[in-house]
Structure formats: C-alpha cells, structure tokens
Amino acid sequence: MYVNILFLTSALLTVGCAVAMLIARNIMHSCIFLLGTLIGIAGLYVTLGADFVAVTQTMVYVGGIVILMLFAVMLTGGKEFVSRAQKLLGLIPAMGNKWSFGIAFLTSFVFVLSQFVLIKNIVKGVEVTKEAKPFVSTVEEIGELLLTDHVLAFELSSVLLLGALIGAAIIARPRKERVAND
C-alpha cells in the first residue's frame, strides 16, 4: 500500500517535472523542474529499497548539481535567459526546435532499445517471485563490496575525481589579462 503510493507520487513527480522542464520558457524554471525530477527519482530508488543510492541522489544532484547549474546560468548573465523559448512545430513553447527534438527522440529510442537488449539478457537468469522481499539496508553491503570486490574501482574513482577537480580548476581559472581584481 505505502510502497504503491510512494511509487505513484514519485513517478508522477518525475514525469510531470520532466515534461514541465522541457516546455518551460525560462531556463531558471527548467532548472527547478529538474530539481523536482531528481527528487522524484530519489523516491523511485526508495521504492526499490536502495536507500543509500536514494540519499546519494539527493545529496549530489539536488544539493550540488542543481546549484551548480543555477550558478552556471548566472554566469551567462543578462536578461537573455529569461524566456528564450523556441517553439516546437510552431505550437508548444519548448527549449528546442523540431531538429533538436527529433535528434533527442532518435537518441533516446536507440538508448532504450539497447537497454532492453541488455536487460533481456540479465533478466533471463533471474527467477521472478511474487512475494515482496523484506527490506535490508544496502549500506553495509555497499561498504563491504567497495572494500573487497570493487576496491580497485573505489581507488580509481578517487583518481578520476582528482582529474575532474584539476580540470575544473584549470578551465574556470581566469586568464591573466582579465583578472583586475573583479
């Protein structure tokens, strides 16, 4: 009962905000609808019993990425980002025209198709039972797996993040002639 309600609410939030994000005229509003979508996805993770992933989703995307996006919009500055809306087929206001939507549709079609093929192979070996499994927290499992089977991935991820940090710092560093103590 509870899981069904949670799933419905999260799914509605996810899909509704995603649609609203696409048709919003204002890029700031789009960012906020994206926030709603991301929270909805966190709710979906909870219905799957993946508590750690759900909270990670909230922490990294809601608290970090969205704020970064808002900052990035402020970086572009000016009034231009308010209501810079194109129209899809001349009807619906949307962030893109028919070409961008066509390409996006094609890409997502290919992506979903490939996912289906992948999942089909995985699902073959899994027995489907109707009974709900009891919820066991995933934290300890993840922690132990990170320290045993996936220890290399754990260590390499820190190197990857170091690379990302250095790259970000270099790209965002102001050039010498533009620094005059702004």
Binding site: H29, M59, G63, G64, I67, S137, V139
Partner: protein
Amino acid sequence: MNTTIAEYFLSFDVFRSFVSRISLWLGTDVTPFIVFMIFLLGALVITLVLATVGGFGTYAERKISADIQARIGPNRVGPYGLFQLIADGIKMVSKEDIAPKTADLFLFYLAPFLAIFGVFSTFAVIPFGSGITLTDLNVGVFYLVAISSLVGVGVFLGGYASNSKWSMLGGMRGASQIISYEIPVTLSILAMVLLSGGMSFGQIVGSQGAFPHQWFLFHNPFSFIAFFVLFTGALAETNRAPFDLPEAESELVSGYHTEYTGMRFGLFALAEYVEVFVVSGVAVSLFLGGYNVPGEEFGHSLAGQGAQATVFFLKTCALYYVVIWIRWTFPRLRVDQLMVICWKYLTPIAIFNLVGCAVWLVVFDGKSMFELFFHH
C-alpha cells in the same frame, strides 16, 4: 537498531493486545493503519513542538541579546514578554503580501517552500529518545545532510527571484557559503560515523553513554577538534553570525529575503530558526551523548523516554544559547575571509581529524582516551 516510533509503541504488551483486540473486532488486521496513525501523530507533535521552539528562538534571541547588551528586551506581551511569539505570528499573518513588479513570481513563491521543505524533512530522523525517533533510518545522518542542502537552493532562489540587487548578492553569497561549509561538516560527521560504525542516529547515539567521558567529544583528541569544526560549519550553514553574510543587515539591507513580506518572510525566518535547533540537535547527538540517560532498563520505559527527551532538549538548548551568544560576541567576517576559513582551515583540519580518527580506531582498537587511561 533501526527502530521507529511505531515499533517502540508496539513493543509494549498492553498496546499490542489492544491492537489485536481491535483487529479481532473489525475482522481485519489494523496494524498497518495503527502504524500509520502513530507516524502521523508523532510527526504532527514533533512539527508542532519544533515550530514552537523555532518561534521561541526569536524570543530567546531578543531576550539574550538584550541581556548581553544590558537591556531588558521584550517585556510587554505576557509575563516577561513570553507571548511575544504569538504577537509576532499574528503580525506575520496580517501583513500584506507584496512581490516586486520585476520579480520572477513562480520562483519568488517557491523559494520559501524549498527552505521549509528542506528543514522540516529532517525532523523524520532527529533522535529525541531511543523510542521517540520518528524513524531511525540506516542512512540517518547522511539523509539529514542531503535533504537540508535544499535550503541552499531556497536561499539562492529567494535572492534570484526578487530581482533586487541586495537580494541577488545575498542569495549568491548564501548559496556559495552553504555549499562550501557543507564539506567540513560532512567530513566531521564522517569521522563520527567511523567511530560509531554506522550512519543511523540510533547507532551513533547508542555507542555513546550518559556521562561526559563516554561522549564522542572526549573519545580522542581528533574528535574533540572535529566537534568545533562541525559547530563552526553549522553556524555558517545556518547563516548565523559571524557567518551571516547572506543577510548582513548593515551591508545588504536584509540579504536574500529583502523583498519578502508577511508570511513568506515569516516562513523563511521560521526555517532559519528551526534549522539552528536541528543542527544543534545533530551536534548533540553526534558528540555530546545525545539522549542517553543512565540505566538501560529505565531508558526503555515511558518515564525513561521522557527523561531522554528532556536531556536531549536541555543539551540542545544549551548549544542554542551558545549560538546566540556567539552572535553578539564576534564581528562579521569578510567574504574572502569566509572562503579562506572554509577551504584553507576547516576542510584540511576536518580531513586531518578523519585520518586521525581512522588511525586511532585501528591502533587503539576503538577504545576511548578514558578507557585507555583508567582501565587496562
């Protein structure tokens, strides 16, 4: 571990037999419904209590600041001005709601909601007692840190949507300050997770004791420093002085909520005062022994729960007093000092503490300083 308030109530035989009798009478199992009602009632009570605490926060702030500055403070409404918060509430509700003409209305109306949502969602995991925790999630502390970062988005949007220069500056400062100080706070919390061996509040509080020598504050020298890192970071995350740059009244009028009037301003203020209580509560749970009272059997009974909640509230209010005291003691920082303190002092110190705690745990096998000195 992993108990909820409903499980606590259902652990009493009296209550269980009551539920089963109703189930028999109605012919269906009503336990899920009862569980839901306990959660709902508990959530309502905790919301009510914490909202009142937030209201009293404004009163305490004015009274204590008056005390520090040798004034009297609010003394007209009720005895000692105690009903000031009711007067303030009525005033908030009955003020006109004005939005600037040039504002982005959608975001302008949404911003206080994000702040309220981010703060109130944290109540679900705050441990008032071993039974009086709405739910003791396995990812408790982590959830609290994650969901309260929504406040940062709210502050930024409040500043942005007003389309006023003061608000915009305050919002930008606020968002960058809140996200920056989240790092040292998270790293300090991580050190405590390391020492207690779990992320749930029940685990963290449970591995401490009622007396100071059992607290994580005095567990080892690193955790002692970590407490101050966490407390400083928490001050900055809640925009309290000396880190009140986002709403610095002498330079930015009122910062990100300059353009807000009436109830919308009230909701921002409520979120802010309640958040101070929440972060004080987190600091108490992580470092100052939380709700622990002496005696394990006693703690489980209803009277014990009352004692636990009282202990928790007393410690948290003491920290709340320190927060207000600090406000009237230290001058405000400059923006560049703010960033330097976060990235060049607090973050390296927090990492040092984390490493120290990890090494201590391995070398001394998880024993605290006290155990090492006095027991062999």
